[in-house]
Amino acid sequence: METRTLSRESMLAAIRQNLPQQRVSHPGIPAFPSPDRPLRPMFEEHLTNAGGAAHTVGSPAEAAAKLSALYPSAKAVCSAVPEIAGTRRVADIHDPHELADVDVGVMRAQFGVAESGAVWLTQEDLLVNALAFLSQHLVVLLDPNEIVSDMHEAYRRVRLSETAYGCFMMGPSATADIEATLVHGAQGPRSLNVLFLPRA
């Protein structure tokens, strides 16, 4: 690993030699006023813009029924939440490749962000990160009281020091790479449905 040390030292030396004379100080990030609109409809509107959809369910049983209604032909439903059993528990998955045939992945997000319709999911919520990407469709449970207004507030909540993987997920996979035409389900999930359901 001598080359590694050599390259490291030579890069740092080159940087120090070329640092601009004037050191700029960090500006600090002020508190921006939160919108005076209720956050939940804002979240729903932005989630819809991003190609997702939100539904309110009253109980775990209703959530399971909603899943069946949304995806009637789903055969493999892999769940990471206690509220919905599915056909397979993600806790039993040892290798992400085992998720290749999953029709619907089910997970719970920690919170949503009103200004974008994104939800925050971590490795601890997914257990196997690939659940959120190999599944053809996603059902995401979200406590409607867990919605923050913007990304500043969102980053006050995330704990990057406590998880190896975290993702702000804004609707399903999308591309506009062919003639700028929006298509959902480019490589990842084809659809994403948020079910508002407080944590049990």
């Binding site: 590694r4 390259s7 490291r8 890069m11 740092l12 080159a14 940087i15 120090r16 030699q17 070329n18 640092l19 601009p20 004037q22 050191r23 700029v24 960090h26 500006p27 990030i29 006023p33 991003a50 992400p96 490749h97 290749a100 200004e115 974008s116 319709g117 994104a118 990160n129 690939a130 959120a132 990407f133 190999l134 913007d150 990304m151 500043h152 980053y155 006050r156 990057l160 998880t163 190896a164 993987y165 975290g166 993702c167 702000f168 997920m169 804004m170 399903p172 996979s173 999308a174 591309t175 506009a176 790479d177 062919i178 003639e179 700028a180 035409t181 480019a186 490589q187 990842g188 999930p189």
Partner: protein
């Protein structure tokens, strides 16, 4: 080794514009629509201008303390279990990546979009050594199958029509040549790529931001392709330019609010993924790459170009880029940001790029990190002029202008003289197809009867302010 001739950006742009009556207006229209979405998103955020200023200052802070933040990033990423490598240049980057792949016996690699890996010309390097490399971003995969580099840093294949893609896919992955529905084409590539994701021994990504405070890096995509590459194969390698460092997690709030709104007119990309050490059951390598960046940091006129967060807004707004297309630049980075980055890699080869601009200033006005792009384009023109790299037609006229600008009295005389001259100059001289390719398809504006200086002096006198006149 003989020097490569300068890239003839004018001829390449002309080839794009003149190929037919479809590609150029389509390209122009898509990018302008993206720009209008950007404007609407920006207008909906009351603190937009404040965010731009904060982003600019945070980047300048990070860049002027880069050595400290890089070592802090390294320490935190290492502590979290990532292996951090340092690469002085493209060759070293490619060797490091190859060595990691060899160590793990990897022969199939799936990668997401990384301008840095493009810059390092990594894919041909690995393929020569027997590794199959598959681009997983749809636009990037289209370009890979067509043997072309990306023409735009966010929309790699935006210069192609759906018919172009249908023909290409028919040739390369066996779709029906006459079915050019983007939904069908996207689905065909999804089905083609999936077995490759499952077979790959490693996934590679770039990194949009690297956070010193936690050793995290952030990758933003719309397709989720970077996440599949990072979550399915056991090995994840990320290439990150040293300028991507920002100090703290809270800084991300500023940058993520700006990035996708600026680049594509959406509040975020569909996926903003945060990697802090390897995932459960995985292995993570981070390659920190210099490749000319430390040298650029020492360039008084150009170091702030390192603030760039690769959103693509300057390309979408640029009237020259929109019409001539991204492949015209013949370089890794195209558009206004390319004009100021590419010459730092090879001044002679990219000496004509700074003239591929109207200096309208729109790029600077939309840049989310407030890089003075158009001022830097002008400064690069001066560099090229001082080095004797001017294009021929410009060398002739600039030789005269240089003398005249150095002698203001001649300038004022000439300005008065030039107006009638332009009035009477034969059209074929001003619009000579060889000497002035910019004249094509354009008309010269009417010159004012009064020069600005005459107007200014007259009006200043009328305001009793003539004592400052030199």
């Amino acid at each position: 080794m003989s020097r490569q001739q300068p890239t003839d950006v004018v001829a390449r742009a002309e080839a794009f514009i003149r190929q037919d009556h479809i590609h150029e207006p389509m390209h122009d229209g898509f990018l302008w629509a993206t720009m209008q979405r950007r404007d609407a998103e920006a207008a909906a955020v009351p603190e937009w201008e404040e965010l731009r200023e904060l982003a600019s200052q945070i980047k300048e802070h990070a860049l002027t303390h880069l050595d400290e933040y890089l070592t802090q990033f390294e320490a935190n990423a290492t502590q979290r279990g990532a292996q951090v490598h340092w690469a002085r240049d493209a060759a070293e980057h490619n060797e490091i990546v190859y060595a990691i792949l060899q160590d793990h016996g990897v022969t199939e690699l799936i990668k997401s979009k990384s301008m840095l890996q493009e810059e390092c010309v990594m894919t041909p390097f690995l393929e020569r050594r027997g590794i199959t490399v598959t681009e997983s971003d749809l636009g990037e995969r289209i370009q890979q199958l067509d043997g072309q580099p990306p023409s735009h840093i966010v929309f790699p294949a935006i210069h192609k029509t759906r018919q172009d893609v249908a023909q290409l896919f028919a040739r390369t992955i066996g779709t029906a040549p006459n079915n050019d529905d983007p939904h069908v084409l996207t689905e065909a590539m999804r089905n083609n790529a999936r077995p490759r994701f499952l077979a790959a021994g490693a996934g590679m990504t770039g990194g949009n931001f690297a956070i010193a405070e936690t050793g995290t890096f952030v990758v933003c995509t719309n397709e989720g392709n970077a996440d599949i590459g990072a979550s399915v194969p056991p090995l994840h390698i990320a290439s990150i330019g040293i300028e991507k460092i920002i100090p703290r997690v809270e800084d991300l709030g500023v940058f993520l609010r700006l990035l996708a709104r600026s680049g594509e007119g959406a509040p975020l990309t569909q996926y903003s993924s945060h990697f802090t050490g390897p995932r459960k059951g995985g292995e993570l390598h981070i390659v920190l790459v210099d490749n000319g960046r430390s040298r650029r940091l020492g360039m008084a006129d150009f170091w702030t170009s390192l603030k760039c967060i690769r959103c693509g807004a300057c390309m979408n707004t640029c009237p020259v880029y929109r019409r001539g297309g991204g492949l015209a630049y013949g370089a890794t980075y195209s558009g206004p940001i390319g004009v100021i980055l590419d010459p730092t890699f090879d001044e002679y080869k990219y000496s004509e790029l700074p003239f591929h601009s109207t200096l309208c200033g729109s790029c600077s006005a939309v840049c989310p990190v407030k890089i003075d792009i158009s001022d830097q384009i002008f400064k690069w023109r001066r560099v090229m002029a001082n080095k004797g790299y001017l294009p021929l037609a410009k060398r002739l006229s600039f030789a005269i202008a240089g003398h005249v600008f150095a002698h203001p009295e001649e300038y004022h005389a000439l300005q008065k003289a030039a107006a009638p001259a332009i009035d009477h100059a034969p059209h074929f001289l001003l619009y000579n197809q060889t000497l002035n390719p910019w004249g094509r398809e354009r008309e010269i504006p009417q010159l004012a009867k009064q020069t600005f200086r005459e107007w200014y002096l007259a009006h200043r006198r009328s305001h009793g302010n003539q004592n400052t006149e030199s």
